[in-house]
Amino acid sequence: MEVYDIRPLLAPLISLVCAVLIFWLGDNTFLRRLFSISSSVLKWMIVMSMFPASLRGVVYVTELLPFARGIGFILRVDALGMFFAVLSSTLWIITTVYAIGYMEGEHARKRFFAFFAICVSTTVGVAFAGNLFTLFVFYEMLTIATYPLVIHEETPDAMKAGRKYLVYTLTGGSLILFATAMTFYLAGTVTLSENGILSLQHGVNTLFFLFVLFIMGFGVKAAIMPLHGWLPSAMVAPTPVSALLHAVAVVKAGVFGITRIVYNVFGFHLIKQLVVHFSGVAISAGSLLALAAAITIIGGSLMALLQDDFKKRLAYSTISQLSYIVLGVALLAPSGAMGGIVHLANQAFMKITMFFVAGAIAKKTGKKYISQLHGIGFKMPITLATFTVASLGMIGLPPLAGFITKWYICLGALEAKQAVFVAIMLISSFLNAAYFLPIVYRGYFVKPVDGDTAVSEAHWTLLAPCIICALYVIALGLFADLPFVPLALAREAMTTFLR
């Protein structure tokens, strides 16, 4: 059921207004904080007000100016979009609090918070985009708005990372633009639909080419190997940016885009039939994507093992985890899709906890390398405890969030009769343990080098977000089957897409 409503427009607009206000009056610290916090809370309330109806299958729609035949700005809140919006607006509040604490004493804070708000605005825009065109518009705006945040430090390293980031993402964007135009030409529309807009009559080879284009385009932000190069270098950005943008907003926009392409542009049934024969070998679109995801899951984990820089290890872990979602989507099985979609949220909360911890430690002690973290659990026990929770979640220990994901993806692999991916998930769990647990071990069981074991936690603005996110990780696993949690939304999305 579609309902016309202004709220899908209000949600992204609020953070945009917030950004304008910060640009205008943000030199004043108090006003800057006031705008940031109040707009994030307001936005969360608006998004949440649509939540119950969305669970019942109501779709809110706002149509803006159409600028040409069949193309216009349409915001449409279906279950999947709702899921992503709830996720990003919830995390925005938490990250804003964290950023206020973290950025204390840093330069150019006005610029930082303004662009931060624009990023969140465009992320919700991506979530609510009702057609590919709108999706692309917000996707590209997100790229541009993140750039000043990546190069925030203005050091040569940061400038280089920023350049790399733009080259990767804008090239990906160009592919998406081309593919969008091609879709428009083939289907005569770019409006996302529950069961896809393309059909087999366009020719299998053309469709396959289009599919690969889209995947390569969105794959850049989704950090599918070998398109992941920008993500580890973008870690030079301040930690709140790494946390929200490189664990949630930007990368999730890529994964979200892939989900949209698979289910809403091609459609579940068409993707299943999309098989090309290449010199005698039959390649199906779904298994190609699943294969890329599997390679990334293992490859990212192996790379993470090699990193000593705390944030870089988290970055490679992100690369690996993102492909869980892609794998879940690519399995084209009900449970797989659900596992993939729900991992959008699970991964976000787990990874953001870890980034918050890395930032808190770096801010408090100046330590950025894992080899320096001896005995950090003596000094910052609560911080490290939250990290431990997130790590165990990543490994997939029940009843934490990560378990839910792995359970459903494994189920999906079995439903799709591709048991090899169950093995991939198991290996990945093992690798997760291999690169996260040594950090926990070193923190709790190795005495600090200087012998100083006095407790000195970071400021509450840094600590509280860690705790809240860790609690979320527990709650997302423990209460997964209650009616008003993300899993219910994911189920709603999955049932409409796979009908």
Partner: protein, 493 residues
């Protein structure tokens, strides 16, 4: 049509022409009145074009017969959907004149001020005439008015380098004018008429298609020079970069478009290139050259240090977009090309005026000297950022619209490789605009430009209006599309 308003189609040409002729007199009397006079003339012209634009959208194209002689015997002014561009010319002309006030006072000797405004009005009159005329010979005459006043405006600063640039432009421009004249002569020899619509009709009857093809080639070469298409672009960077900034804005934003409008008139109005007659692979050659133009323009821009040089090369690559769109000759392609005629004018005028404001304030024009300028002139640099984001084609700004339509057009025409070239070019373009933004906002200043503050209001107001336009024309693209769609439907009929 009754009363004076019936004569608007000719008055929009005559008023600025007469205004130009009177400017030296006014300058002789009171030099300070030149600028208000020129602004007033342009504002008046603008009002008339606005009136005609509304009329056009309500009642369709307006034909006006000079001296009431019926065409093909008399000269015809034909205010069709393409001629709606006059509205833009008059508006931007007006803004540039406002901007010029302080700039000219500082950069030019006093004696030259009245000459300057005379030439500006003259070049604007030439462009308006060029766009609205329905007569081939008039097309050539107006082209010459534009070119001659253009040479003079480039050289008006009087330095050695600008004189060289103007001379280079003069040489190449003279050849292009000759090509066009020769083309007109050829067409006259086989059709016996100069009225565009009449020629178009006669061409379907004549069997001298070889002569017609040669004439077409001459036109394309002639206008390609004016539009600075590869490999005929060499004159443009110097001319556009070394002219006074408001003049650069006019040249880059509007004057190069005369080449484009000329191509549109010849290809679609006269030759009806999509019609039954076969003129060989003209469009194909143009499309590929356009692709090369896009990439090379962007590539060279990357290696420039002078911001105005960068903008000039960026014009070349954007002209490539437009020509590519037109020569795809598919519905979406032409729509994309036409809309970029307008959007590029908007964006490039903004950029050159901003460059002008910066040069006016600091005296520097090299990127290395301008580091950290964003903190001193936030509004001007903010406008540059908006225009840069727009020209790179990041949605939802103005520059994105053409990219979308041209890519669509390329797919529609079955030439996706061209779309690939366009995307590659636009990625190069990102590279050098990012250079500008980085230098302005994210690097420490090298010079002690402490006393620099924002440009004066007479400069800022046009800049801000144009920059807002860059932002909004992406979202409100249906406004220009309302004129472009019927135009394209007419071309493809």
């Amino acid at each position: 049509m009754a009363g004076v308003s019936g004569h608007f189609p000719i008055l929009i040409v005559v008023v600025p022409l007469v205004g130009a002729a009177l400017t030296p007199l006014i300058g002789h009397w009171r030099r300070r009145l030149c600028m208000p006079w020129a602004a007033l003339v342009m504002l008046f012209t603008f009002a008339m074009t606005a009136f005609l634009g509304v009329r056009l959208s309500l009642h369709g194209p307006i034909g006006y017969h000079l001296g009431s002689w019926e065409p093909p015997f008399g000269i015809e002014i034909y205010f069709d959907y393409v001629a709606a561009l006059t509205f833009v010319i008059a508006l931007f002309g007006f803004l540039v004149i406002i901007f010029s006030k302080r700039y000219v006072e500082k950069e030019l000797e006093e004696a030259k001020i009245s000459t300057y405004y005379t030439l500006i009005l003259l070049i604007l009159a030439g462009m308006i005439g060029f766009v609205v005329t329905g007569d081939m010979f008039n097309l050539f005459v107006f082209l010459e008015i534009i070119s001659l006043s253009g040479y003079a405006l480039i050289a008006i600063g009087g330095e050695k380098l600008t004189a060289m640039a103007a001379f280079k432009y003069l040489l190449v421009g003279a050849i292009s004018s000759l090509c066009v004249l020769l083309g007109v002569a050829f067409l006259y020899s086989i059709t016996g008429t100069l009225n565009m619509r009449d020629i178009s009709h006669m061409l379907t009857l004549t069997d001298a298609t070889r002569v017609a093809s040669v004439a077409l080639a001459l036109f394309i070469v002639g206008f390609a020079v004016k539009a600075a298409m590869f490999p005929l672009h060499i004159w443009l960077p110097d001319a556009h970069a070394l002219a006074p900034s408001p003049v650069s804005a006019l040249l880059s934003g509007l004057v190069v478009k005369t080449g484009i409008v000329g191509m549109i008139r010849v290809l679609f109005n006269v030759y009806r290139i999509n019609g039954p007659l076969n003129y060989g692979p003209v469009l194909n050659i143009m499309a590929w050259l356009a692709g090369i133009t896009i990439i090379l323009g962007a590539f060279f821009a990357f290696f420039q240090n002078d911001i105005k040089m960068m903008f000039a090369y960026s014009t070349i690559s954007n002209i490539g977009y437009i020509v590519m769109g037109l020569s795809l000759a598919s519905y979406f392609g032409i729509v994309g090309g036409l809309i970029h005629v307008f959007n590029h004018a908007l964006i490039k005028t903004t950029l050159f005026l901003c460059a002008g404001a910066i040069i006016y304030k600091t005296g520097y024009r090299k990127l290395a000297d301008l580091q950290g300028i964003g903190k001193k002139m936030p509004i001007t640099m903010g406008a540059i950022v908006i225009a840069a984001v727009s020209i790179v084609g990041i949605p939802p700004t103005a520059g994105f619209i053409c990219k979308w339509f041209i890519i669509l057009g390329a797919i529609e025409a079955g030439k996706p490789v061209l779309a690939g070239m366009l995307l590659l070019g636009s990625l190069f373009i990102v590279a050098y605009y990012v250079k500008i933004i980085n230098a302005a906002f994210f690097r420490e200043p090298v010079h002690e430009i402490t006393e620099v503050d924002e440009a004066p209001a007479s400069m800022l107001i046009p800049i801000v209006i144009l920059a807002i336009g860059c932002l909004l024309m992406g979202v409100f693209a249906y406004a220009p599309l309302a004129f472009i769609r019927p135009a394209v439907t007419g071309f493809l009929r």
